[in-house]
């Protein structure tokens, strides 16, 4: 079980099938992103309550001691609402986002990818009481680590997940091929164009969401690199025996570098959207 959980965690993606029969993916938000959103929300709550108390008590002071007490009662109800309904109201009415989640680019969704309703939002936020025990959301963190969709108790009982909506850049990853030269015509003895499908595989190898060590990446790159080298008639000869980590280090990750050069040479940045 541990291995399969780990594999899914590294990917941090959830596939949802739409009624149209298409699979699409969500990126699950990690504890760090959620902590960030939570911190922003906590600040907003504290600020709003401070202002509420000051304003109400100033109003109450006009009515003497009795007015002061009445306004303190009203402010206590404000505390109650912010304690129990801040998250519910925002998430329920603003399509799964509190101000903090919006700032952090997160959204709460049902696990089938549809928006949550007010009741669901209320439930998952009420259960914070249980998730926060004994200190600092320990229970919530533990259940998040045990579930592939990183759900705390509130998410499990009300069938929700928190996804990251930071749009993936749609252009070719810019920094990736910065430090390599494109292949020169003179280096290759044969004419061959690398198909888009192969370029996509190379890109996937360098996807930052897949956590690979350099040595492991080099190991994976080798078969593809050798085949491409043959087809392009690339002249330089390598020694490729063994697969020790030290070996790759000594070689300076030649296969990885070669694949990046191929990417730089053949990939045309024509993805839509224009953001890169």
């Amino acid at each position: 079980m541990c291995a399969s959980v780990a594999r899914r965690l590294v990917d941090a993606r959830v596939v949802v099938e739409t009624p149209e029969g298409v699979d699409f993916r969500f990126r699950i938000a990690g504890p760090g992103q959620r902590l960030w959103a939570w911190s922003i929300d906590s600040l907003i709550k504290a600020g709003a309550l401070a202002i509420l108390w000051v304003v109400l008590l100033m109003l109450g002071a006009i009515g003497g001691e009795s007015g002061l007490q009445a306004m303190a009662g009203l402010a206590t109800i404000g505390v109650f609402v912010s304690n129990w309904f801040y998250g519910s109201l925002f998430e329920g009415l603003m399509n799964g986002q509190t101000p903090g989640k919006r700032a952090a680019g997160l959204r709460v969704l049902r696990t089938n990818g549809t928006p949550i309703d007010l009741l669901t939002a209320t439930g998952r936020n009420f259960l914070r009481v249980a998730d926060a025990l004994p200190v600092g959301y320990t229970v919530g963190l533990i259940t998040m680590l045990l579930t592939p969709k990183l759900q705390r108790l509130g998410d499990l009982f009300f069938d929700t997940m928190v996804v990251s909506e930071q749009r993936s850049p749609t252009g070719r990853p810019a920094g990736l091929t910065k430090n390599v030269e494109p292949l020169a015509r003179s280096e290759c003895s044969r004419k061959f164009s690398v198909p888009e499908r192969t370029l996509a595989i190379i890109e996937r190898l360098f996807d930052p969401e897949r956590i690979l060590t350099e040595g492991r990446r080099e190991e994976i790159a080798r078969p593809l690199s050798e085949e491409l080298r043959k087809r392009l008639g690339w002249s330089e000869v390598w020694q490729t025996e063994g697969n020790q980590y030290e070996f790759f280090q000594k070689q300076g990750y030649k296969h990885t570098r070669f694949l990046l050069r191929v990417l730089k040479t053949f990939a045309v940045d024509d993805a839509p959207g224009g953001r890169g």
């Binding site: 009624p19 109650f80 009300f158 996509a200 996807d207």
Partner: protein, 336 residues
Amino acid sequence: MNRERFIRARRADWSHFEQLLGTLQGQPERQWRAVQVAELARLYRSICYDLSLVQSREWGSRLEDYLNDLVAGGHNCLYRTSPASLTSVLKYIVTGFPRLLRQRWRAFALSAALFLVPFILGTIVGVTRPDLAVLVAGEAELQQATESYSQELYTATDERYTGERSFMFGFYVNNNTGIAFQAFALGALAGIGTCYVLLSNGILIGLVQGTMLAKGGTTAVNFTSFVITHGSLELTAIVISGAAGLVLAQSLLLPRERTRMESLRHHGRESLQLALGAGVMLFGAALLEGYFSPLPIAPGIKYAAGSLAWLLVGLWLGLAGRERPVLSDPAGGKPA
């Protein structure tokens, strides 16, 4: 069709869709125009097709990510649940809530036992063994209660009344409803917290009651006439929120024919509805406790109002929202 031609042909639709999505997400649903929604749905379907094409031909993960984001946005925009209306909320409180509670009578009975047994024990101890009561409840707590009930709370023309009572109203809402919601939420941890809240509140309230009764005379009358009215809503609501917590605990511990995860989802919403109903009751109880219970009127009137309140709460929870007996057709279809 190759990749370049495909992108050139489809690009206009994609950016149009992106624009439309941005417009619609920026405004409330009731301002959406039918033409816009129809256009969005049409584009959404065609982009779904584009995504599966790109997926199957493996035309680059960046392109796939871009289309994936578009589909996710469209899916989020098109598939949603209808929002709750004020009428449906009112209807739920009047009929749906009592019906739900009667369906969950086992959890209610268990919760009532967890609260009432220590409550009755506490009362007996308070009356017969004051020394023991002080040991359990604490001297300060009982001293304070004795002082506040040994004299009339207010005289007929007390100027402090409005301010103090509003302050107490706010306190009751925050404190009592908070305790009830906690009792519910802690059910998610196998119900240990729920049981603790029920038991500890039961014994404490019982001890205070017992001690007041033991004093006799004005103190006892002041106390009983004060608590009888709002107690109908307050004590019942605490038991109900406990029952909601126990339903959560049961769904976790005894999933029966469902998988554990399914069981959580199945019972989660219903138990929350119970807890929210209890929250509404406690708001009503806070109003009564804040403004009615301490009124400087004859205890007799308060006893009468209190009895009426208990009767009404009992009738509401016991009888409201009963379904008419259905004679035939268990599938629920209507005869032609």
